[in-house]
């Protein structure tokens, strides 16, 4: 009866998710999603498949952060290519007396999108109009020659950024008088996975003269850093261009240029494993003054669920 009239508190997504977990090795290693006991060393953690105690210093709330977890996905690299084509290289050709911009598309779109949405490079009957640049990612190579995070289970290498301002520790003139220094907050980001992306590109034009113009523009931008300067830039390398002129029976004459872009990039994924294991935020050293501390019962955790009563031993 006492429960009646109370507003029910809905479970959070995390609580619902945890309730659905059924770990296979709960008896041996515990539920990793509901940690009640941490391993005391790295060796123990690996032997017993336990979660290592990251220490209280790393348990900093993410509440109130003005930044998102730093991630760079594969899509960010793909977008860097398109941004650079559209906004920096900005290729154009002269056709029938008009200068027209060359649109860039990602290859092999869905059929409906290709036919019904991409009308800006199609005529009334749906025929693709040139010029057009198509690019498509064909390969992702891991680049192991550069540093790495060492171990995905226990990342060891981080890049650290100091946050310029923290409203919880603002610095004012009174702080100067008292000799207090604000605590600095640092953002820790796992060293990314370095990769080399390969993109296959096709320049499709009506005329060789137009193809020449576009290749000249792209070649000028080769071996530089491509991407949005307000986001990420990656070094893009182009080694060669192939030009093809096709004149098939009963078909349109096509002039194509193909080339590959090698993009040196890196990935910091937004995955749950990284969220669980990696350090994300820490603070600089601070001073804590404890004037008085009292306790009623002194106990010590000896492990194996044995709680030692220190009061008894003291007696």
């Amino acid at each position: 009866m006492a429960e009646q009239g109370k507003t029910p508190i809905p479970k959070s997504q995390r609580e619902i998710s945890k309730g659905l977990h059924e770990p296979h090795y709960e008896n041996q290693a515990g539920d990793p999603n509901n940690v009640t006991k941490y391993a005391t060393s790295l060796a123990d953690a690996r032997t017993n498949n336990q979660v290592i105690d990251p220490g209280r210093a790393s348990r900093i709330s993410q509440k109130g952060n003005s930044w998102k977890p730093f991630t760079i996905g594969i899509k960010d690299l793909d977008e860097a290519i398109k941004y650079y084509f559209d906004n920096v290289i900005n290729p154009s050709v002269i056709q029938n007396g008009d200068r027209i911009a060359v649109p860039t598309i990602y290859g092999s779109p869905e059929r409906w999108k290709s036919v019904q949405r991409d009308g800006y490079y199609r005529d009334k009957k749906g025929k693709i109009m040139a010029p057009l640049i198509m690019y498509k990612r064909t390969n992702i190579d891991r680049n192991k020659g550069i540093t790495n995070k060492i171990d995905a289970n226990f990342p060891q290498n981080y890049a650290v950024f100091q946050q310029p301002y923290s409203k919880q520790n603002f610095y004012n003139s009174l702080s100067v008088l008292n000799g207090a220094k604000p605590i600095k907050t640092y953002q820790a980001i796992v060293i990314p996975d370095f990769v080399t992306f390969t993109y296959s590109c096709v320049i499709y034009t009506y005329y060789m003269e137009q193809l020449n113009q576009i290749i000249e523009a792209i070649n000028y931008a080769a071996d530089t850093y491509w991407g949005n300067p307000e986001r990420f830039k990656f070094k893009a390398m182009i080694n060669s261009y192939q030009t093809i002129t096709e004149l098939n029976v009963g078909q349109q004459r096509t002039v194509k240029g193909t080339f590959d872009i090698k993009l040196n990039g890196y990935i910091i994924p937004n995955v749950i494993q990284k969220d669980l294991n990696a350090l994300k935020k820490f603070s600089s050293d601070s001073k804590i003054i404890i004037n008085q501390e009292t306790t009623e019962n002194l106990t010590r955790d000896r492990g194996n669920n044995f709680i030692e009563d220190i009061n008894t031993n003291l007696d």
């Binding site: 002269i94 056709q95 029938n96 007396g97 008009d98 027209i100 598309i105 290859g107 092999s108 779109p109 059929r111 290709s114 036919v115 991409d118 490079y121 199609r122 005529d123 009334k124 009957k125 749906g126 025929k127 693709i128 109009m129 040139a130 057009l132 198509m134 498509k136 096709v202 499709y204 009506y206 005329y207 060789m208 003269e209 137009q210 002129t245 029976v249 009963g250 078909q251 349109q252």
Partner: protein, 169 residues
């Protein structure tokens, strides 16, 4: 002298066909002929700066359409459509046109570039352009036979390629 296929017979066939194309079938297309004197080309043999045309000249014709096709490539779904246009030869000649490969035909808001020009529908198998005269044993051969049609095979081209209408903005 040949027995069949005199000019009167040929004219009968032409008149019937003209009436059929113009009053019964009533299919039409427009013909654009490239003006060679004004259209300049570059090193690669292409008129990238633009083409100039004579026309359009509207003809009654017989249009034999194939099915539209939607080939797919990395660029997405494309469009292609091959069509055969059959003209009464005398109409085309009277308009001062000689259809050739590379000319443009406008049909149902689509532009078609000519791939093949076939002109071998000879009445009684004889082309009057080659009368085989003088022939002392068989005089008057130039009055026989007839070349009746132009059959033009063409493929669909993107509309902006020719610059006749504004397609990209």
């Amino acid at each position: 002298m040949a027995l069949f296929g005199r000019t009167r017979d040929v004219n009968l066939i032409k008149t019937i066909n003209r009436e059929l194309l113009g009053d019964v079938i009533t299919q039409q297309c427009s013909f654009y002929k490239i003006r060679l004197e004004e259209t300049t080309f570059n090193l690669y043999g292409e008129a990238a700066g633009g083409k100039f045309y004579d026309g359009p000249i509207i003809f009654n014709c017989l249009v034999e359409r194939s099915d539209q096709e939607y080939p797919e490539s990395d660029l997405g779904v494309d469009f292609s459509w091959s069509t055969i246009f059959k003209f009464l030869r005398e109409d085309v000649i009277n308009a001062g046109i000689q259809p050739e490969v590379g000319d443009i035909i406008l049909y149902n808001e689509g532009y078609y570039q000519v791939d093949d020009v076939i002109s071998n529908q000879y009445f009684v198998g004889k082309d009057p352009a080659y009368p085989n005269e003088p022939n002392p044993l068989n005089p008057g051969l130039s009055d026989f036979g007839g070349n009746l049609s132009y059959i033009v095979k063409a493929h669909y081209e993107p509309a902006d390629k020719f610059g006749i209408t504004k397609e990209r903005f």
